[in-house]
């Protein structure tokens, strides 16, 4: 904190109170409720509940559909990170080089960043509908596309829908990262190394490492949480439940299936995953990964 500070007996609480109050009521209360749910078992008719220890956790670990969701979420995060990261980087490098039309490219490529995932999902719906869908027709002519029966096809559907808007986010941050690299470093490297491609991989890309780590975290968080709107407006988990993410499954089990115990246990498992991701994030923000 600051070396020079105000000394007061009460005014700091005046500044802290509004946020603390909102957090306590609308965040801590539900979280405590989540922990309570996770360790209680409710009977099927909702009449009573009893302490269940770790039964709810044992239940989700013995549930094959939990592992299906887990597997899908991992694959989904990995593929989205890879696709959006590489396309975003490729476009950012080109946009950083061109002399003319830089701001036009920038504006048009940044634009989809603002669109809600649920809106993107509704749009994807039209491109993959049997009746109007251009992509549906294209893939159908190539290999007989059928996403509500074929798991691989459903993956393609949600991956395209999920990646599209995230390319913009990757593009924005990579471009800003590239512009932050000092001109003198690049000029010096031109003298040492004539090959454009080698220079990129040996000089520029290592200098972009902090941005890359930051974006990996952003993309994983996006694939975990923000894709809810995309799944709910595209496949709804179809064919069976192969395209349900962990968040989507917890919502369906809790809200539609009214199994609060299982939904609570699933939420706590996800909090642990987020905790691990956040520890990495803090390592980055505190500047422990340094390349320049």
């Amino acid at each position: 904190m600051k070396k020079v500070q105000f000394k007061s007996n009460y005014s700091q609480y005046f500044f802290l109170a509004p946020q603390l109050l909102i957090l306590l009521i609308f965040l801590y209360w539900p979280i405590i409720q989540t922990f309570k749910d996770a360790f209680t078992m409710q009977d099927a008719f909702g009449f009573g509940s009893q302490f269940a220890g770790f039964d709810n956790f044992l239940f989700i670990f013995s549930d094959p559909s939990y592992f299906t969701a887990f597997k899908f979420t991992i694959i989904y995060s990995f593929v989205i990170t890879l696709i959006t990261g590489s396309i975003g980087l490729l476009l950012a490098v080109q946009a950083n080089k061109v002399m003319h039309g830089k701001s036009t490219y920038k504006t048009l490529l940044i634009w989809p960043y603002a669109i809600a995932p649920a809106v993107v999902g509704v749009m994807a719906n039209y491109f993959f509908s049997e009746r109007y869908g251009l992509l549906h027709h294209l893939f159908n002519n190539l290999w007989g596309f059928n996403w509500y029966e074929n798991v691989f096809d459903a993956y393609i559907y949600v991956i395209i829908a999920g990646s599209w808007k995230q390319i913009s986010a990757n593009f924005i941050f990579f471009l800003a990262g590239l512009q932050a690299i000092q001109k003198t470093v690049i000029e010096a490297s031109i003298i040492d190394c004539k090959s454009n491609i080698r220079r990129f991989w040996t000089i520029t890309f290592p200098l972009l490492m902090p941005t890359t780590f930051f974006l990996i975290i952003i993309n994983i968080t996006y694939a975990f949480f923000d894709t809810f709107g995309i799944i709910d407006t595209t496949t709804i988990g179809a064919p069976g439940s192969e395209t349900k993410t962990l968040v989507y499954k917890a919502y369906i089990d809790g809200f539609k299936g009214l199994d609060l115990g299982s939904a609570g246990a699933q939420s706590i498992m996800m909090m642990i995953i987020v905790l691990v991701i956040t520890i990495f994030q803090f390592r980055y923000i505190e500047g422990k990964i340094h390349y320049n």
Binding site: F6, S11, Q19, I87, A95, W164, A176
Partner: protein
């Protein structure tokens, strides 16, 4: 010569990128200007039709929804109230909380710090069901307060403001103290004007974030009177060209905000990096 070739390659790759990002929206927009009958017989369209005004005004003013109780115009109003509420409330509470954390000697400072920042681990999606139960206990289902408050309960903005305050030189406070400025005056006369760019960036970010909410309004609004644009999209019934027109209209507010304020937004993000 090689320079010319390489710049052509740059433009070529960027144009493919533009195609991927812009063409899907263009196709939906072009299709939204045709009649439903035409779309149903001919599929998605690349060229504009003549039904632009007819389709868009029908969607804006016609009663739709499951019980035909709401117009798209009302949904836009609801979305604006919700997004503005979320942005305003989180900017004010976070600005104040960060000030309290950075500029004061606080008893149990570490505990308060963790009470605030550990909440970053629990996005709304992870506490959706218990949040709904809490809101119904508080009688806040189908109210704007119910739509706004749980989403404003976030420490992301506090984190940004805290980082920003820490970068302000200590001499500022020393000088203000010599002049006998009290903590409230220092906050209003010095810190808020200094944080203008940050405030704007956080406000934009939270506004778009609030406008784009989908799951929470879906759960919190059983009455159509409180439907928002983004959640209404999936549930709204109507002809195919109505739905295309609504998709296009739904993305206009956040897209305009990001395009016009992109410099400010990016500046705000990178002040903290």
């Amino acid at each position: 010569m090689t320079k010319y070739i390489s710049s052509t390659i740059n433009h070529f790759i960027l144009s493919i990128g533009l195609l991927i990002m812009v063409v899907p929206i263009w196709i939906i927009f072009a299709s939204s200007t045709h009649s439903s009958l035409f779309i149903n017989t001919n599929g998605l369209q690349f060229f504009l039709g003549d039904n632009f005004i007819e389709n868009y005004s029908r969607v804006l003013f016609k009663q739709s929804g499951f019980f035909n109780e709401i117009t798209a115009l009302k949904m836009f109003f609801n979305s604006f109230v919700m997004a503005t509420g979320i942005a305003t409330l989180s900017v004010i509470t976070s600005l104040m909380a960060a000030y309290g954390l950075v500029y004061f000697k606080v008893k149990y400072a570490t505990i308060i710090f963790w009470v605030i920042f550990i909440t970053l681990l629990v996005p709304l999606e992870l506490r959706i069901m218990p949040s709904y139960i809490v809101m119904s206990k508080l009688n806040l289902v189908n109210t704007f307060a119910g739509l706004i408050l749980p989403i404003s309960a976030s420490a992301i903005a506090t984190f940004f403001f805290r980082q920003f305050y820490k970068s302000i030189p200590d001499e500022l406070l020393e000088a203000a103290k010599l002049d006998g400025t009290n903590s409230l005056r220092f906050f209003i006369d010095f810190l808020i004007p200094l944080s203008k760019t940050m405030i704007a960036a956080v406000f934009i970010f939270m506004f778009v974030f609030g406008y784009n909410q989908y799951l929470w309004p879906l759960i919190m609004t059983t009455s159509e009177q409180y439907w928002t644009v983004v959640m209404g999209l999936k549930t709204m019934y109507g002809s195919i060209s109505d739905r295309f027109a609504f998709v296009i209209m739904s993305m206009i507010p956040p897209v305009i905000i990001i395009i016009f304020l992109q410099k400010l937004f990016i500046q705000g993000i990178f002040q903290n990096k």
